[in-house]
Symmetry: C2
Subunit: 144 residues, 2 copies
């Protein structure tokens, strides 16, 4: 057991890395905003408060479970507020907090970059895909 395999060394490194990742604000944020539904909820609530069912209709395609789950984590992180009105049919309103608004701004920046550069990305992709895959093309990997 003297000589450590490369895999063993990498596993140890991975632990440190994992610990680092969890404490890294940037990765936490990336994980949050890249969530499939988060950006849509944030966008939807940008026009003002909405009820649960309004959100469900506006986002169209989201299951109740995912909508609730998304809203819960966003509430937990202080990005939106949840107001329950105990009327006869219950009424629940969601509204962005200033912090949520702020995140929405950041998302807008992301959107701007995407719209400004997506064309270049697509061109690069087309170029790459139409490449002869160089000489040899050993196993014939198709890269799709």
């Amino acid at each position: 057991m003297a000589t450590q395999t490369a895999a063993q060394r990498r596993e140890e490194a991975r632990r440190e890395y994992d610990a680092f990742i969890r404490s890294c604000p940037t990765n936490q944020l990336l994980g949050r905003i890249s969530d499939k539904w988060v950006s849509l909820v944030l966008a939807a609530l940008g026009d003002g408060p909405m009820r649960y069912s309004d959100l469900a209709r506006k986002i169209a395609g989201v299951s109740p479970k995912m909508l609730t789950q998304t809203l819960r984590t966003l509430e937990r992180d202080g990005l939106l507020t949840r107001a329950v009105t105990p009327s006869v049919p219950v009424r629940v309103d969601y509204e962005l907090t200033p912090l949520g608004m702020s995140l929405r701004m950041l998302l807008a920046a992301v959107k701007d970059w995407a719209e400004a550069n997506i064309e270049q990305v697509h061109e690069a992709r087309d170029r790459y895909d139409s490449e002869p895959a160089a000489a040899g093309a050993a196993t014939g990997t198709v890269r799709r």
Copy 2:
């Protein structure tokens, strides 16, 4: 079969939504940058070109497979270049393109937001977690 269930209607909506999503540059970009390794590779290459094994060592914890996969997609999207030098031991250098640099800037903006606001998020989280879960607390859900 006259009455459509809510699930059926939602499924149809989901198809439209999925088509929309795939064509949405913002979501494409979010998917890309939120990839676990992409941000790390981009960060690593910010200091200049690096060889494959240098990246593997610097990123520490990544498996060969994931590193290669990440590099390939980034190359395909025109965010970095891959230069093979057919010397005796093969040598491969990776370097960011201007587009890649640009994306790195965006990521920096994300990082800035994260570092500026992560504390607020953590505070909100602590507050949320220490809440009595309101009156009634029916099923005793613990929310962890």
